[in-house]
């Protein structure tokens, strides 16, 4: 009995955070939320990067990137926040973009936006 409980615990350690089928969870929140424009743009970035013409990014790579964000980020981030975090990580990994230029662009975008009345 105790050994089977321990065996279960050992197995649970092997369950990846995103692999949640069968775990206890609450009622389904059926509220409708239409995708925001920036979310659609993240989706479109993925569609374009993975299309036949480009094939720069596979959906499997997107998933692997999301799964490796860690349990904390997986739960805290919104759906498309996870997507853009994963997409960015893989583009940097592949050398399509550098972290340095992304960081610099974010600083620029922030100051551009803050300069607006």
């Amino acid at each position: 009995m105790i050994s089977s409980i321990i065996a279960d615990m050992v197995e649970n350690k092997d369950r990846a955070h995103h692999d949640m089928g069968g775990l206890p969870a609450g009622p389904v929140d059926r509220g409708e939320h239409e995708a925001a424009f920036w979310e659609k743009r993240v989706d479109a970035i993925m569609m374009l990067l993975s299309d036949k013409q480009r094939r720069l990014l596979r959906v499997d790579e997107l998933r692997r990137g999301i799964e490796s964000l860690g349990p904390d980020a997986y739960d805290k981030l919104g759906y498309y926040e996870r997507w853009i975090a994963s997409i960015t990580g893989i583009l940097v990994e592949k050398g399509v973009l550098t972290q340095k230029e992304i960081d610099a662009r974010i600083v620029q975008l922030r100051s551009r936006r803050e300069a607006k009345p």
Binding site: D14, D19, G21, G22, R58, D60
Partner: protein, 100 residues
């Protein structure tokens, strides 16, 4: 790579826990079901996820499991099922002793 299993055949899912990306859900590992259909051959997601080509393509199946055999606490009906797509390299023939 020709499909090793035929529809109707009983198969068991490997009970292993790789640390890398894979598409075989945790809850179905070690369970026994029946081949519902052969879906065709597809590149291996365990390779594609790391930027490799995932070739050769591998047979993918839909495997049907009885819910009462998947979950010890299942409280629906006896004939309820769950169908899951599983790649051939996760499947082996069910042992003779496996529950029907």
């Amino acid at each position: 790579m020709n499909a090793r299993f035929a529809p109707g055949e009983r198969v068991s899912v490997d009970k292993r826990y790789p640390k890398k990306h894979c598409r075989t859900p945790y809850y179905i590992r070690g369970k026994t079901g029946v081949i519902e259909r052969i879906c065709g051959k597809f590149a291996n997601p365990e390779e594609l996820a790391y930027g490799r080509d995932g070739l050769p393509k591998r047979p993918l199946y839909r495997v049907r499991f009885r819910q009462t055999e998947v979950w010890s606490s299942y409280n629906g009906m006896d004939d309820d099922t769950v169908d899951i797509e599983i790649f051939e390299h996760w499947l082996k023939p069910a042992s003779k002793g496996a529950k029907k």
